[in-house]
Symmetry: C2
Subunit: 411 residues, 2 copies
């Protein structure tokens, strides 16, 4: 099996693939900020106005001059005439004179003349129109000055962040209701194999339905990219060649799931190699499941040849596809692969030198989360459907012991 | 401040809210399985056919009768005439006679007469048409029998699972190209406050833009529900009453962000109480940020009154909104709140008896992930935008020490 003579570890294989890809160069598009959840910001955002835009109270209480409260205490209160109330949502129509106070709410604008807010809790209105001050307050206390949160010109969001609810809120706070985002990468998906038929077809003996086109489409969508399905292609060089050329012309990267047999996988590698330079970079990765993975760059676009087995295809796509999508989008490293820690319930054996991924179910126990491996005779897709995550057994381990705390990659 | 006399801890407040909600009762809809990512399965799925549907080889090699290999070894090979090749995707057109072998690929259908597959690695084709068998194989080895993965009638997916790529693949494997899912819960969002204006409006002194309608919409979308925005409502009972009635009639649950002042929050609670029985269940939660939270059930629908501050509103919505959405959808507990473990970089103080949520940045270090708290003078939305997650300080702690391993809820 010459294809597997030199098996790279997954991390080295990924590094090789990413190194041969051009820098992020996807075009951008301008969309409504309100619809931008999950999109990647093309450029950094600078504040065009300060936040807050006016000096505001951070508490409910009374706007006053701090100096007028000095020495006040519960045993020796100060008394200030109340001259009004600051309305919410409007500038106060008065200047606060020394020796007076005005009622103000959280978020209200400080009237000119005031330099602090005394919290409601430290006051009494013993007589109508008169404030009893039970504690002194310092100048600047309980107020937020113009630009104290965000100054004009300050970078509030760097380029390459994925927009979450907080980022969308932040853009709205600055009145940025349209935003330039990176176009979603288009990912072509080709399912190959003489035995594969459409899911809505009746299967004859020897045939199986196409799972990979749909599970991989869902993964691509989940990763923030746009799947484009090119259907099922027979294990013939001409058919695969034509499908790959179309997909590469229309998409930013292409996934091909190879037929199950070794000869079908060799055929895939040969055809991928014709698609452009430098061609196949990696043929065979030291990982289980997923050994027959093919990684290629053809004239600047990634082609990932995945094993035909649906579990292997999904596990391998998570390892290689998601980082490629992120690099294409110019995404700053961060949020994509989420791990949970859990205690392994049983011993897991593994072959030294190979990285293994084992589906596990997470179980709540009084001692914290437990990770229970799921065993099936075959590498069935429903095994993954029962799993909450994947435990990685590193290449330098010959297994993991029951009771060990392991990282579980959330599925 | 009578509203805060009795502050419930967040977990108890949530339990009270969920206990007053009706059992999952959202209608279902039938959609294409290919578009069902993230949707919740209405009913369990039983296999209408076995998997595999035919006895198949799990390796590349030779179909034969195990008995014909007994005693074979590298030093004493057995020799079998090769009678053909099993095509991929079709039933073999021959019966395998005793004392013969046929070439077969991974996923190929076992010919009648064969009971095992010998891996390619343990064979040689020394003379054309003759197989040299270098190792014995047991009956049933390297084959998967009909229904061995999934038997007819077996439950492959329970009701209430959220469909991920693996579940979508599993449904396709069984030819289920349409699926009945729970309708997405509709979540009404009302922003109240005299000081709040639309994000695309120019702000006058004293005014702030509406952040919450948009950050909460994004959170609702992220949680698999459908946001319906009812805009900005002034802090007047009549206006809030009308908006809430409309939202409750059209949605499955409603979020109201209250104005910033204490009086605006009291107004919200009064109006919510008019909307139906039992009305406000919780007014004030022992959590920071988010103390002035209101939880209500009005004639079977949840109303969540959130603080006006955008950070508090998002943190509290994560705690209360997401579990309500999950319960409404009949979602089995599982995947929603994801945690990462990290080492705290500094001491964090906290008030005993209160649960605190502190935004943190996750930093890769040679010793693993570190969680660095983000400090701002005010509770600004951009603080959350800089954060990777939230560290929870439990109510029974007076703080967390630098170097401690903490759970970080991913944002």
């Amino acid at each position: 099996m010459p294809e597997f003579l030199e098996l790279l570890p997954p991390a080295a294989a990924l590094e090789k693939l990413l190194a041969h890809l051009p820098l992020p160069d996807l075009p951008s598009e301008t969309i409504d900020t309100a619809s931008a959840l999950g999109r990647v910001l093309k450029n950094r955002v600078l504040a065009q106005e300060p936040l807050p835009a006016f000096t505001r109270s951070t508490v409910d209480g009374y706007a006053l001059r701090a100096a007028d409260t000095y020495g006040a205490s519960e045993s020796l209160p100060a008394y200030l005439p109340l001259v009004g109330e600051v309305p919410m949502g409007a500038a106060p129509q008065f200047v606060l004179q020394p020796g007076t106070a005005a009622s103000i709410h959280t978020g209200g604008m400080l009237p000119p003349g005031a330099d602090a807010v005394l919290m409601l809790e430290y006051t009494q209105e013993s007589r109508p129109g008169e404030l009893e001050v039970l504690r002194a307050v310092g100048a600047g206390e309980n107020i937020l000055k113009v630009g104290e949160d965000v100054a004009i010109g300050q970078e509030v969001l760097p380029a390459g962040v994925r927009l979450r609810p907080a980022e969308i809120g932040g853009l709205m706070a600055l009145g940025i209701t349209e935003v330039e985002v990176v176009r979603r990468p288009r990912v072509g998906i080709i399912s190959s194999g003489d035995e594969v038929v459409q899911p809505d077809e009746a299967v004859c003996p020897g045939q199986v339905r196409d799972i990979n086109s749909y599970s991989l489409s869902a993964l691509v969508t989940q990763a923030g990219a746009e799947p484009v399905r090119y259907g099922i292609v027979a294990d013939q060089a001409a058919a695969l060649d034509a499908a790959l050329r179309t997909a590469l012309a229309e998409c930013d990267l292409v996934l091909v799931t190879a037929g199950s047999s070794a000869s079908a996988r060799d055929l895939t590698a040969d055809v991928v190699n014709r698609m452009g330079q430098p061609g196949v970079l990696v043929h065979g990765v030291n990982v289980k499941p997923g050994k027959p993975t093919i990684l290629a760059v053809c004239d600047g676009k990634a082609v990932i040849g995945l094993p035909g087995n649906p579990v292997s295809a999904l596990v391998i796509a998570r390892i290689f596809l998601i980082p490629v999508i992120e690099q294409l989008s110019g995404l700053m490293v961060g949020h994509s692969r989420l791990f949970t820690q859990a205690r392994l319930t049983v011993n897991l054996a593994s072959q030294a030198g190979r990285e293994d991924y084992i589906p596990v179910k997470l179980i709540s126990t009084p001692e914290g989360l437990a990770a229970a491996p799921i065993f099936y005779k075959s590498n069935l897709i429903f095994m993954l459907a029962r799993a909450d995550g994947l435990v990685r057994i590193p290449a330098d381990a010959t297994g993991l012991g029951a009771g060990m705390i392991v990282d579980v990659e959330n599925l």
